[in-house]
């Protein structure tokens, strides 16, 4: 049997075991300090550890290559190119409003998710939940305030972004399509803000949404008070306003519908268009400028 050739001795397993344990302890005495020293050495240089290198794929010494990799190998940053025109970082040209709009969208998503923990979209609870948020939830009031002001700020930022894009002629070839995506995002931003207006279920939101959706009553063909709607047999109970509100007045169904549009429907649609918008900014050659000025005499007319 192979066992007999082991170091266990002739007639006692116990002596072998003792020896083995002794040997193990001896080895620990020498190995432990050595390994501890080794670990301390690696702690002094954490960027060499396996954990670190598994997360960060490249070194961070200040070399042009690493600067580029810092952007390109990061999923959140790789929307950017590695290098850009030196003048396009100038705030006076871009106003930064597109980026600020996106940042505000992130702020709104964050605060919105937190608000959702405290809010029930029902007629009985909605208003009380807002009171609860304002008076009992820790930081509830600042949370709601921040969500509302960020929403208003986002509308302003979107309009200013569009204004800047127009003034710099950035919608011109080859960016025509992306301008259109931007227009859709503008509309979605307004709709996001508008659907959120009803959610506190107070007089302000109720009447604003009543005024707003009353306009849908007058839609030509599709609203029961609109021109030519009698040809489609429109009534208050089957027209486009009914579809928006889930009823003929702003009530429980309208609250639920605006909640779902506000928290799920429009954010998903807007996110898809945002992905498209950012992707097209890159594919259309980055931001439009600041480009060198072109003189009227240099324009080559396209042949028809």
């Amino acid at each position: 049997m192979p066992d007999e050739k082991n170091s266990n001795g002739k007639n006692g397993k116990s002596t072998g075991l003792v020896n083995a344990v002794k040997e193990d302890i001896e080895s620990l005495k020498t190995d432990l300090p050595a390994k501890a020293k080794e670990s301390l050495e690696t702690l002094k240089n954490p960027t060499k550890t396996q954990v670190y290198t598994s997360i960060f794929r490249h070194k961070h010494d200040d070399t042009p290559r690493n600067r580029a990799l810092g952007v390109l190998s990061n999923v959140f940053l790789h929307l950017h190119p590695a290098k850009i025109n030196r003048d396009s970082v100038r705030y006076s040209y871009t106003w930064g409003m597109g980026g600020i709009t996106f940042y505000l969208f992130l702020v709104l998503t964050f605060t919105g998710v937190l608000l959702m923990f405290y809010y029930h979209p029902t007629k009985v609870q909605a208003f009380r939940d807002v009171l609860y948020l304002e008076h009992d939830v820790p930081f509830g009031r600042i949370l709601r305030n921040m969500h509302r002001w960020a929403a208003h700020l986002m509308v302003i930022a979107v309009e200013l972004h569009m204004f800047r894009v127009f003034l710099t002629g950035s919608y011109k070839k080859p960016r025509e399509f992306n301008w259109n995506v931007g227009v859709i995002l503008l509309v979605l931003t307004l709709l996001l803000s508008f659907t959120g207006y009803l959610l506190p279920d107070d007089q302000l939101g109720f009447w604003a949404v009543t005024v707003g959706t009353n306009m849908a009553r007058a839609t030509p063909l599709l609203g029961h008070e609109g021109p030519f709607s009698n040809y489609l047999n429109m009534t208050p109970y089957n027209d486009v306003r009914f579809g928006l509100l889930g009823g003929s007045i702003v009530d429980a169904n309208a609250l639920l519908r605006s909640y779902i549009w506000h928290c799920i429907g429009i954010p998903i649609i807007a996110s898809i268009f945002m992905v498209l918008h950012f992707w097209r900014v890159r594919k259309d050659g980055g931001i439009s400028g600041p480009a060198p000025v072109i003189l009227d005499s240099e324009v080559k007319e396209a042949r028809k």
Binding site: R86, G99, Y103, R164, G169, S170
Partner: protein
């Protein structure tokens, strides 16, 4: 002067954004105008001096030989973005701590708010309800605004001014956009926010909101002024006036456009030109209808059994 009333309107939490937006817009218009002016004078200089045009880097900002044309995004752009995020966060923090979001009484369908106002960014559309029936102000106009914005890149055939601020190279485009955005959109919002009081009546800033005020305004329809009584005649007359407005307006705009924008005019196809005309003249029609209503108390121009304009 009712300062309290004025303060109540200005400081109503949901009006703060539009109060903030007006100076912000002023600042950005100034910023754009300053750069446009610098670029325009550079363009003028380069046009006079073709030799310089060949060597100049063609930006109003300084550029020295030896400077790289491109910089790394990390850190030169990312630090700007990071800073912007921090500044926006600080603004939001201060704003959220100092001003509470509005919360009125619980919703009550039996108690109408007076005035019942839409959120501030829709007040321009709500203001249009004074001048147009809801199907135009609430449905057709917003649709036209959206489509009007969308067609801009396809009808603007001017290749100049892409990627830099300029005024002289794009007078028509920028003038039209400023008119639509500042004069129509922002100023209508301002009227809706600050001027309109109970009953959607006109109260000058600082005038006390009188909930019992009645205005005996006799609004007339345009056909009535001409003594037209029969429904058929009213319909035909209105169609002729509206049609005439588009035809005459079109001719007038055409006369100016082909004289002052000959190159763009030549570049445009019939489709592009007619789309431009339709949107442009419809846009001009809005302030004209406002003027008719505010100055001459004219309610409808075109009366038919199905719709009124």
């Amino acid at each position: 002067m009712d300062w309290k009333q004025l303060w109540e309107i200005m400081s109503a939490p949901d009006n703060v954004p539009i109060v903030a937006m007006i100076p912000l817009l002023g600042f950005y218009i100034y910023l754009a105008w300053r750069q446009a002016k610098a670029n325009d004078s550079l363009i003028e200089q380069l046009e006079k001096d073709p030799a310089l045009a060949k060597t100049h880097h063609r930006k109003a900002w300084p550029f020295k030989p030896g400077w790289t044309k491109e910089v790394h995004v990390w850190p030169f752009l990312l630090r700007v973005e990071f800073l912007a995020a921090i500044i926006v966060t600080i603004i939001l923090m201060i704003w959220s701590i100092s001003l509470n979001a509005p919360l009125e009484e619980p919703a009550n369908p039996n108690l109408t708010m007076n005035p019942a106002k839409a959120p501030w960014y829709f007040l321009g559309l709500q203001e249009m309800l004074v001048y147009f029936d809801p199907w135009i102000a609430g449905v057709v106009m917003p649709t036209l605004i959206i489509f009007g914005l969308m067609v801009i890149p396809y009808i603007d055939t001017n290749p100049l001014g892409a990627g830099y601020y300029t005024w002289k190279q794009r007078k028509f485009a920028i003038g039209t956009f400023l008119f639509g955005f500042i004069v129509l959109w922002v100023s209508m919002i301002t009227i809706g926010t600050f001027i309109r009081g109970p009953g959607w009546q006109w109260f000058w800033p600082g005038q006390t909101w009188d909930h019992n005020r009645l205005i005996y305004e006799v609004n007339r329809d345009l056909p009535d002024l001409f003594g037209i009584t029969s429904n058929w005649a009213k319909g035909i007359f209105g169609a002729a006036v509206v049609g005439g407005f588009f035809v005459l307006g079109g001719l007038l705009v055409h006369a100016f456009f082909r004289r002052y924008n000959p190159k763009n005019y030549k570049r445009m196809s019939l489709l592009q030109y007619s789309i431009l005309m339709v949107f442009f003249i419809t846009m001009i029609g809005l302030p004209i209808k406002m003027l008719l209503r505010l100055a001459f108390h004219i309610k409808y121009v075109w009366i038919t059994p199905w719709f009124n304009v």
